[in-house]
């Protein structure tokens, strides 16, 4: 198959989602409320960073300019990142972390399921591995959303606040530009319009069970996947890329 700019862009987006959320979630290492969750969050971060390595390696090969996973991860600036804004938002508290993981992992499960049939066979192979991991992530976060939302007055209030804050960022999941149209037309990935209803059908019942109120849609839209990020990504990158920028080409 011929490589198109849309194809490279699409695989980069998937890799950046995994990398940035993996990096963000890893901030919990040593800080989670209980030891078991500390380990769970670190393990899920590792899964995501592993997925990011495969995806960015693939994106680099598609691009054909000799950039490997490390160059793509450590030597790009904010405007070259294509992750969803949701992935870069600060953790704030355990409730917001779990709600974010639940909203995102639920999307990933549906997306990887569809990418099993991608016309890009390498992407389909990555999807087959990632799907199994995403299912555990979605279950883990889904459990916690119910436990926290239908928990104490404090946990309910914090989880509802987290959902109210994060919900507007989920509109970006399904935003489409010419890249998305080209991807759907080439059979590389699904059309977002088709995924939106499927995602809500999975997410809303769990939120209801958690006794949370699903916010109404607002006109606000974030566009990290098109390269327009929040102020939080730069801070994240400055930490993640510190070593490679201080000692360019460092290896160990």
């Amino acid at each position: 198959m011929t490589t198109t700019p849309a194809h490279i862009e699409y695989v980069t987006r998937l890799g950046d989602n995994a990398l940035i959320l993996g990096q963000r979630m890893s901030e919990w290492c040593g800080h989670a409320p209980v030891l078991e969750e500390d380990m769970a969050l670190a393990n899920m971060s590792l899964d995501l960073i592993g997925q990011a390595r495969m995806l960015l390696t693939h994106a680099g090969k598609l691009e054909g300019k000799g950039r490997d996973e490390d160059q793509l991860a450590f030597l790009r600036t904010e405007m070259h990142y294509r992750n969803l804004t949701l992935c870069e938002l600060p953790n704030v508290d355990f409730g917001r972390t779990m709600v974010r993981n639940f909203l995102f992992a639920s999307l990933q499960v549906l997306l990887w399921e569809r990418l099993l049939a991608s016309s890009d066979t390498e992407l389909a192979a990555i999807a087959a591995k990632s799907l199994k991991e995403a299912r555990y992530h979605a279950q883990h976060a889904g459990d916690w959303v119910v436990r926290l939302g239908d928990g104490t007055a404090e946990s309910h209030a914090r989880t509802q606040a987290a959902l109210d804050y994060l919900w507007p960022y989920t509109a970006e999941f399904f935003a489409a530009n010419p890249t998305d149209e080209a991807i759907a037309a080439a059979g590389i990935g699904p059309a977002w319009s088709e995924l939106e209803a499927a995602w809500e059908a999975v997410v809303v019942p769990v939120l209801n069970e958690a006794t949370l109120t699903v916010p109404a849609r607002t006109p606000f839209k974030s566009y990290g996947k098109f390269g327009r990020h929040s102020e939080h990504l730069g801070h994240l990158l400055s930490e993640m890329q510190y070593l490679q920028r201080t000692y360019p080409g460092a290896q160990w």
Partner: protein, 163 residues
């Protein structure tokens, strides 16, 4: 210079770095071995995407085959078909149990984001055999394992999750 059969014999003795009671072949991650151009070509598949042991495993395989007399070893990582706990051999599952890790059973996590509550399937304790066990955490010391506790003998144990 090793034949393919001899190479498999060498690999049967290469332990998994995190669960050293089972070998990389029993874990089902060595998919193919080919004698090629005076050397060996070994195809390995990773367990989890982020498994930190992947590179150690490739190096252990290379070292073991070189020590056994092969000059050139190429280790190829192949993603498809994706590794599944169904590829862990039956004798290896018994070794896991004897080591204190409940082997994978039943189906992997399926479906979307339905909460599975806090009453997952009753697992048998690998130490005393009691099924009076509870899950403490879905993720244990590594991504591939969950943490359980036996209510009968009160020992904690790990469960190799089906994937």
């Amino acid at each position: 210079m090793l034949t393919e059969t001899q190479a498999w014999d060498v690999l049967h003795a290469v332990p998994d770095p995190e669960i050293p009671v089972i070998s990389v072949t029993e874990l089902g991650i060595v998919r193919e071995v080919h004698a090629r151009d005076g050397g060996l070509h070994v195809v390995v598949t990773p367990t989890y995407s982020g498994c930190p042991a992947t590179e150690v495993i490739a190096q252990s395989i290379r070292d073991a085959l070189v020590a056994a007399g092969t000059a050139e070893v190429e280790v190829e990582t192949r993603l498809a078909p994706a590794w599944t706990t169904a590829w862990i051999t039956e004798p290896a599952k018994e070794k896991l149990r004897a080591y204190g890790i409940a082997p994978p059973s039943g189906d992997a996590a399926v479906g979307g984001a339905q909460p599975i509550r806090f009453v997952p399937r009753k697992l048998a304790c690998p130490r005393c055999g009691s099924t009076d066990t509870t899950r403490l955490s879905q993720f244990g010391s590594t991504a591939c394992k969950a943490l359980y506790r036996c209510q009968s003998c009160l020992e904690p144990f790990e469960y190799f999750k089906p994937i």
